[in-house]
């Protein structure tokens, strides 16, 4: 199969899976918290239940917003996985220059992920 076809397929699957997960989490969240009042007027930073260390346990407790967050993380990961597939595709074509370019872009995102916490 051509790499373009795989990448196209991958993007579509990534988007619809993550939206499906977010929808599921959203339903759980709404049935539990639907009648509470919203307050987003001030920025509060990262809530506890989605902090990296707590996310998985929150999901197992079936907390709606944690499940939504998993869907969103999957959505953000979709273009990143696309890059990995592109790198494999260039390697298969023996286009090592572009394999390197793709890995460089992946490296920048990784750097952003590791240094983005401060502030």
């Amino acid at each position: 199969m051509k790499i373009q076809v795989i990448i196209g397929q991958l993007l579509r699957i990534g988007v619809f899976t993550s939206i499906g997960i977010a929808f599921l989490g959203g339903i759980i969240y709404l049935t539990r918290h639907g009648h509470e009042m919203v307050d987003y007027a001030t920025f509060k930073g990262v809530p506890d239940y989605v902090k990296p260390g707590n996310l998985f346990s929150s999901v197992f407790e079936l907390r709606g917003r944690a499940i939504v967050q998993v869907g969103i993380i999957l959505l953000i990961a979709t273009p990143v996985v696309r890059l990995i597939f592109s790198a494999i595709g260039f390697a298969a074509e023996k286009d090592y220059r572009y394999m390197f370019v793709t890995l460089l872009v992946l490296g920048i995102i990784l750097f952003s992920m590791l240094t983005g916490k401060a502030g």
Partner: protein, 278 residues
């Protein structure tokens, strides 16, 4: 307002945003951010987080189709992603230090510029002038058209790369795909045919946004309860938009109507930003 009402308003608004965004080619964020900040009183940091996530969804969803058709120039896209991801990271880090009302003013200004760019006549003119760097980087390509494949060459790689860094910074600060700026870099600076530059720009938005989204995530800009209705609404709206687009491709007055709506939103954002109400 209860959570349920808030979610339903947001879902409907995001649907309209996705529809408008796909018809104008400007993306959903341009309506989502004013909707959240001006109409629902949400802090702008949450608004840019939700907008960015929706940009990833629409970009990935529509890129899937274009990549298969072979219009997207993947080498060009990936090469320029070096510039946009560096810019996006810088922008996301800067966003924490920029006061909210300034973000609103910048947003309005970028919105006006993008609307003007989107109204400009698009040429599918094909450049055949050679460039050493473009040849070395294998950026020249071809795209399918009715009569077969049309070959084109790319010029001014350095200028385009620089412009892409700017597009990335703006995307990282404002949480938008900044597709219009990417098209300017490719269309105006690098002389790439319009068909190729729009699809390649769209292809790049996902990766660019991911570079700033990983920062947003860790800083709490991405709130699941806000993102959920926004992403679902924008994606459904964009899907409807792509169906309408096929049928009413020649309706020029629609474009002007949308540009008018966007202009009003932009002025609202700037006005409220200056008054410090955002």
């Amino acid at each position: 307002m209860t959570v349920l009402t808030f979610t339903l308003i947001l879902l409907a608004g995001a649907y309209a945003a996705g529809l408008l965004g796909s018809l104008t080619g400007l993306g959903g964020g341009f309506v989502v951010i004013p909707l959240l900040t001006l109409a629902l009183g949400v802090d702008i940091h949450y608004a840019i987080g939700a907008s960015l996530v929706s940009a990833i969804a629409t970009s990935s969803g529509s890129a899937a189709a274009y990549v298969k058709e072979g219009i997207t120039n993947m080498r060009l896209g990936i090469f320029l992603e070096i510039a946009t991801t560096i810019g996006a990271f810088t922008g996301a880090v800067l966003a924490a230090f920029i006061p909210a009302h300034f973000i609103a003013i910048l947003f309005g200004t970028v919105l006006i510029c993008s609307a003007i760019i989107s109204l400009k006549k698009k040429s599918n003119e094909v450049n055949l002038k050679k460039s050493y760097l473009a040849e070395k980087l294998k950026l020249d390509g071809n795209f399918p058209e009715a009569g077969g494949f049309v070959a084109y060459r790319v010029v001014n790689v350095v200028g385009g790369f620089g412009m892409m860094i700017v597009a990335g910074i703006i995307s990282g600060i404002l949480g938008i795909g900044s597709g219009a700026l990417k098209v300017v870099a490719m269309d105006g600076v690098m002389r790439i045919p319009f068909k190729v530059s729009t699809t390649t720009s769209n292809f790049m938005i996902g990766v660019t946004a991911a570079a700033s989204a990983v920062v947003y995530l860790q800083r709490g800009y991405i709130d699941p309860a806000i993102c959920m209705p926004v992403v679902i609404g924008v994606v459904l709206g964009a899907l409807s938009g792509s169906k309408i687009l096929v049928r009413t491709a020649s309706a020029a007055w629609l474009k002007y109507l949308f540009a008018g709506i966007i202009l009003i939103l932009a002025i609202q954002m700037i006005y409220n930003g200056i008054l410090g109400r955002v």
